[in-house]
Symmetry: C2
Subunit: 273 residues, 2 copies
Amino acid sequence: MNRQQLITQIRHKRSFLCIGLDTDITKIPKHLLATEDPIYAFNKAIIEHTADLCIAYKPNIAFYESVGAAGWLSLEKTMTAIPDNVFTIADAKRGDIGNTSAMYARAFFQNMSFDSVTIAPYMGADSVQPFLGFTDKWAIVLALTSNEGSKDFQVMRLATGETLVEKVLKTSFDWGCTADNTMYVVGATQGAAFAEIRKIVPNHFLLVPGVGAQGGSLAEVVKYGMNADCGLIVNSSRAILYASVGEDFAEKARAEAKKVQQEMEQLLDNSGF
Amino acid sequence: MNRQQLITQIRHKRSFLCIGLDTDITKIPKHLLATEDPIYAFNKAIIEHTADLCIAYKPNIAFYESVGAAGWLSLEKTMTAIPDNVFTIADAKRGDIGNTSAMYARAFFQNMSFDSVTIAPYMGADSVQPFLGFTDKWAIVLALTSNEGSKDFQVMRLATGETLVEKVLKTSFDWGCTADNTMYVVGATQGAAFAEIRKIVPNHFLLVPGVGAQGGSLAEVVKYGMNADCGLIVNSSRAILYASVGEDFAEKARAEAKKVQQEMEQLLDNSGF
């Protein structure tokens, strides 16, 4: 999916919601455990009940790997259940030497048709560049994450005076990262740090985790992070997926997603988008 | 496997060789493609011909994921072919928020019985700590990698005067990383940088990629990196795996591994280990 298609989707759905498919076999409704592939059955129901309210789905790859080859099959099947016009994010946090990153790109972009993959930048240029050479595919590079550990290195000052996050953003331009092939992860829990990041990447889309269960505020994210093309994809996982653990889980998930979408519609209206 | 068992293995085999199972379906001998699971058939033959010469195997997870669920099955079967007394490394470069890192730990430590997993430190404390709580299991944290992109961030000076690598090493102690549960990746292509790193982590084992195809020198690594317990696990992948693409691939791989083991034996003898 290219940038214009993504923006069109936001405009039509009045939403910039991404639903994180952090599907945990120990948390899904018990009645699904009798089905052949409970993880897929859960995801399929969630997708069918929310695809008109969100613009992206983000399977968290760890949750699928944690149940072995069967989990990988559930993931492959889940991808076929997502409509083509919804953006897909493999939340994998990959990144390795060039020939290995190329293998990960093949796994997610070619074998499973993901639109994007999240990437850790610690290993530098050749760990990210293999993800850039695919038409209408995206690298989503970790910048400022939403977890407590983000304070360990990401916000450190370098000898040059900038923070590590700022250095990562600027350096990625040298790798060929543009607003048409790259997004950045910026955690919602970091509040005003958004403003500093927007000075460096005014046009890029930002993937924003940490709203909801992790405590970030949607209004705050919009205030500091929205740009003329919206420029935001805001993720919610647990609050939507596990809104109910009964047989009504999909309807309750829809109701929760609808609440977020309506809040987003109001914010988009206010901004004149 | 605990530290003492690893050291005993090095002492008995006169080797600190790790064989990287970067098994590429496009590079393995053509006659294997007729078997039910060519990747497993290749790995099994390599393991049977080299297990007395090396002390560790390191499947590169990207190569398995790149062929989908079938690749994950090949990986699970490969793990059953590795003798229990050989150390195993999931070269996965994972790292995510706490609940997600815990899922990756489950995938590699519990479901597949790996002894260790490589981890990218960009996300800080809670991305690494979930890997530390398992008896006789190891986190292998990226410090100074062997690729060109390692120059982008890892060797940068911070405002405090230290490099990012030095900061990662020191900070990891605060997370509970000890010489009994943590190793660090230090690329062989970085030569004298080893000496600086050894000042900070004199006792830890270091996993050293980049010898062979990537150009690092074994004698140089030993000169700057060896400690009283050896303290080194040196990886070779392509030079051994693809020594021949004929039906004699496993014998040729053994011959190549034997050459490295003999060089290591000499170096261990010289050091009085």
